[in-house]
Homo-oligomer: 345 residues x 4
Amino acid sequence: MIKAGIVGGTGYTGTELLRLLAQHPDIILETITSRGEAGVPVADLFPNLRGHVDLIFEDPATAPLARCDVAFFATPNGIAMQQARALLDAGVRVIDLAADFRIQDISVWEKWYGMSHACPELVAEAAYGLPEMYREKIRGARLVANPGCYPTAVQLGFLPLLEEGLISPDALIADSKSGVSGAGRKASVSTLFSEAADNFRAYAVAGHRHGPEISESLERAVGKPVGLTFIPHLLPQIRGMHATLYARLNQDVAEAELQQLFTRRYASEYFVDVMPLGALPETRSVRGGNFCRLAVYRPLGGDTVVVLSVIDNLMKGAAGQAVQNMNLMFGLPEPTGLQHIPLLP
Amino acid sequence: MIKAGIVGGTGYTGTELLRLLAQHPDIILETITSRGEAGVPVADLFPNLRGHVDLIFEDPATAPLARCDVAFFATPNGIAMQQARALLDAGVRVIDLAADFRIQDISVWEKWYGMSHACPELVAEAAYGLPEMYREKIRGARLVANPGCYPTAVQLGFLPLLEEGLISPDALIADSKSGVSGAGRKASVSTLFSEAADNFRAYAVAGHRHGPEISESLERAVGKPVGLTFIPHLLPQIRGMHATLYARLNQDVAEAELQQLFTRRYASEYFVDVMPLGALPETRSVRGGNFCRLAVYRPLGGDTVVVLSVIDNLMKGAAGQAVQNMNLMFGLPEPTGLQHIPLLP
Amino acid sequence: MIKAGIVGGTGYTGTELLRLLAQHPDIILETITSRGEAGVPVADLFPNLRGHVDLIFEDPATAPLARCDVAFFATPNGIAMQQARALLDAGVRVIDLAADFRIQDISVWEKWYGMSHACPELVAEAAYGLPEMYREKIRGARLVANPGCYPTAVQLGFLPLLEEGLISPDALIADSKSGVSGAGRKASVSTLFSEAADNFRAYAVAGHRHGPEISESLERAVGKPVGLTFIPHLLPQIRGMHATLYARLNQDVAEAELQQLFTRRYASEYFVDVMPLGALPETRSVRGGNFCRLAVYRPLGGDTVVVLSVIDNLMKGAAGQAVQNMNLMFGLPEPTGLQHIPLLP
Amino acid sequence: MIKAGIVGGTGYTGTELLRLLAQHPDIILETITSRGEAGVPVADLFPNLRGHVDLIFEDPATAPLARCDVAFFATPNGIAMQQARALLDAGVRVIDLAADFRIQDISVWEKWYGMSHACPELVAEAAYGLPEMYREKIRGARLVANPGCYPTAVQLGFLPLLEEGLISPDALIADSKSGVSGAGRKASVSTLFSEAADNFRAYAVAGHRHGPEISESLERAVGKPVGLTFIPHLLPQIRGMHATLYARLNQDVAEAELQQLFTRRYASEYFVDVMPLGALPETRSVRGGNFCRLAVYRPLGGDTVVVLSVIDNLMKGAAGQAVQNMNLMFGLPEPTGLQHIPLLP
């Protein structure tokens, strides 16, 4: 059995990790920390866990994290980079669900996140935890940077096209829409029910942190500069992310061939579902599950290719992918503890 | 033209007052105050008002409230009672949309609101602003306590039955449901979209401040002690309030007679709509309008009478009723500036 | 392994049964029928099942139902009563998720359902499938009438009080609220998104079929006539049911004693969670899980007792309870295949 | 006073027309027709109109349409083209809210709408009712084709850029999102609450009828072929449409200049609001109002320009625009009866 700890468990990725790990057959939940809620039973905050999780939030200063085999950071940006070194030295593997280790170019990271990086050398070591792109590196990693939700949905959609060189990499467009849970569980006016319900809007149009994360990883994967226009939007729903991706074909490829390309690329990927030609992935089809569903189109036979990509932002976009990475790191079959059928309706 | 000021205009009742007053034919919007947003154009916070309202939030210390004919307090509880005296002395009429003047029994008020009252003598003077019950007193008032949203929906439903003495006043039940906007526009975890959407729950079951407000006003109206069990619930929708009222008939009255009683009671009330027998009032039928729609039932001919009552909690439950009171106080026809047809769908 | 068939699988209870049975460790999904969709892969209708269920809808006339060990009827009312006899004769156990066998009094059933009953003798044989009330009878049954969603939430809430004789059974009130999925997956104007979203209303106030079902079962359980006012409402959310129950105490019992009573009554019930004093059950805490969470109150120390009861109408209110009944009928541990942690947020 | 009739008034554009026309100062509502609901009071179907509209649905065969000054067709596609000729001959002006007269190229229309056109000569005569593009033609028109909702939001966003020749017209992308009310008020499974709530998906990705409508009108306006990729999506909200538009700049233009261009272009348009640099139009800011709000961006200084455009699909996208057109046709000030402040929250 693998002993797991969660650092900062009062947010939505934390509680989603609890939901997954509590029923993972190879996991013992050892500790979960929270500065603000230390001493409070986890199930008092998250009543869905009553009867399933009887942990009590522990103060991070005294929690037995060093005794764990793996520590998940479900903390705000900037925390994991302070604490990862000590845990790694103690032999604990680390999976950071925040952004501290996602971008290799430290200057880019520091510009977008507005702070100095505390341990650039660990960034260099960290594996970028998108298994469908970097599986081998993750398998051997002590430290995994769990990707952002948008980067997961966007990269899985563009990847087959870029790998085959079928599209111009310099003019990608990712029109992306996320459920509100992506904004986390902190009190704020803009994500109040009365502000976000029955409403839709773009945000961070001038630039969003997930943009450089996507570009850097795609450039690494295909060895070419990538030009990306990435526009996120806020959906009036709790979970669910939909990326509508646009690119220019640089050669004439029939829609059916595009379909085959996608099918082939993801044939052995348990968590990526290439839907049949003409299908319309919907966010509810992955609600609560760790799947990414994709569809590819060439509308009206023009030279714009359109890819539709959906994930549950808290699952394949966060906690589910983190557990997928953990399974890889510990040599478990990748779907272990992650086979939840999505909840529909 | 009547010069109106709004104190504390950054919440939902404040912006709803702006929506109404900006197109009220007899009103000049003179000033709106906010400590936190002083200097900011109102339409920056509430983009629906762009092109309609060009006021700028003013510091309450310097805003020309004393120059107004009427001041609306859209502030948290405990503010109006500090400032009402000076305004009244300056000849400004005051309508408080918070709770400071709603309960005549000061000790009850202080117990439920957890503070000492700053001006009990003004409580005694204040008219309780439910026009369908206290029209004459409101007409002559300098100071009006605008009722709570729940008390409005509940009292209008019970009133005809209590006035006619058809029900036992000692065992009333008001199962009430409110949209989330009733909780206001302040950052808080429990009213985040991801907490309140796709969810339903009761709250304040052990006791809610609107309970004593309802009981006191009904007792005053019918001259008998009232026993009320009042359970509020939170609906996953922005606006709308539905009260399902239960009482025991103390005599045999046919459903059709109950219907006639309600119709007769509210025959001359522009804002109270007694729906036909068998109708089901829905909250969207009053969305954005100042109406209360009612239906009365005697299910299966038993001795329990059921009344359904819907209002828009921001309109008849707050800002709309405040403007209705203002119209009365200034001798205007009651529906002036309040004839918005509700938005459906 | 138990071979299971589903009759009429294109609705929400059908797809929810599939979600549960596809991962139930003791079940082989043998067949699922649909007249209208025969020949269509189940996962084409319900894309959440892609990769988990590869059944194809079969014509009911030719589907191998008689080969199953158990058949679930997820059909409209009036179908199971036509087909149950033949299946039982073939040795297939039957669980009807519709209403055909829920009410013992045939004349009452025929009045409320507007049709003649096709096999009254099977009604007499059928066990009413609320395990927390009728576990022993269910264990030995060939035919189980799965209760309605409202009856499940309401009975579990009133039961401890009635069993102990603490309340007057002749004046119960059940103010009940259901998510829209309870209305099923048939095209209809009144449950369109644009009609049901951002809206709340009561329905069937003059009388609802679940009323007599609740009364009859409670009377059978406590041996006394029950008088119930039952008012259902439609919530703007997909899943989730909340019953707010009101009754008059006929003796002075402290809230803490009521709490103990509930705790004791359900101490050994895996699926009933009596929450601590002062807790507020919320529907999302059971979303996708088979649990009923309860809280009991005596507001302001009055003689009205209030019970709050939440379930997921598609789980404990339908498919989950059906699987719980199946587990009982086949001697499996009751929670087998039903331990899904509810999805929150 | 202008006598107005509505043909086919049981859908959402019909009821929205009623909401607007009932309080329009220059209008008398003469008749509203419905084959299915003839004899039923309008307010029985749409309770928000109780007390405001006392019309009764009339059979289209006998309704006094020929007596009207203007007839609005709120019918399915293919009806207006059957009836417009006779009304025009009787001197009635016609505004079609469906698609019959929107596309000048009859063969394109027949291909996308799957029927033969009944009166091509009227298509040639019809004015395309987007006042901000075709005001003069509308002023003199007997017959107006009210644009589709998507075409309104998309064209107003691209127009300034195309008119100035700043973007390549051959590679436009319109990622568009609509509230569910755009699908109308007919019973259908895919727009049930339980299907469309808490969910997001694209639709008609292979091609949507509004695509050729947009292209043809933009080509006519700028005299150049337009290549458009148009992807519509369904939002889990009732009203509101958001178009996110992407185009390639063909010269270096600073964001501030783009802003000035938009401001200048729409300076005298009452219903088009160019928001300040950096603003994020949200759909709720136009809920119930006839406004289009726009923002223009050049993200990260790249050569992709992004325009955000929001409207209420039932207002500026349908009924509101129809009334705007009527005002023009009858020489009234354009904002007459259309100054509703949007409802927020």
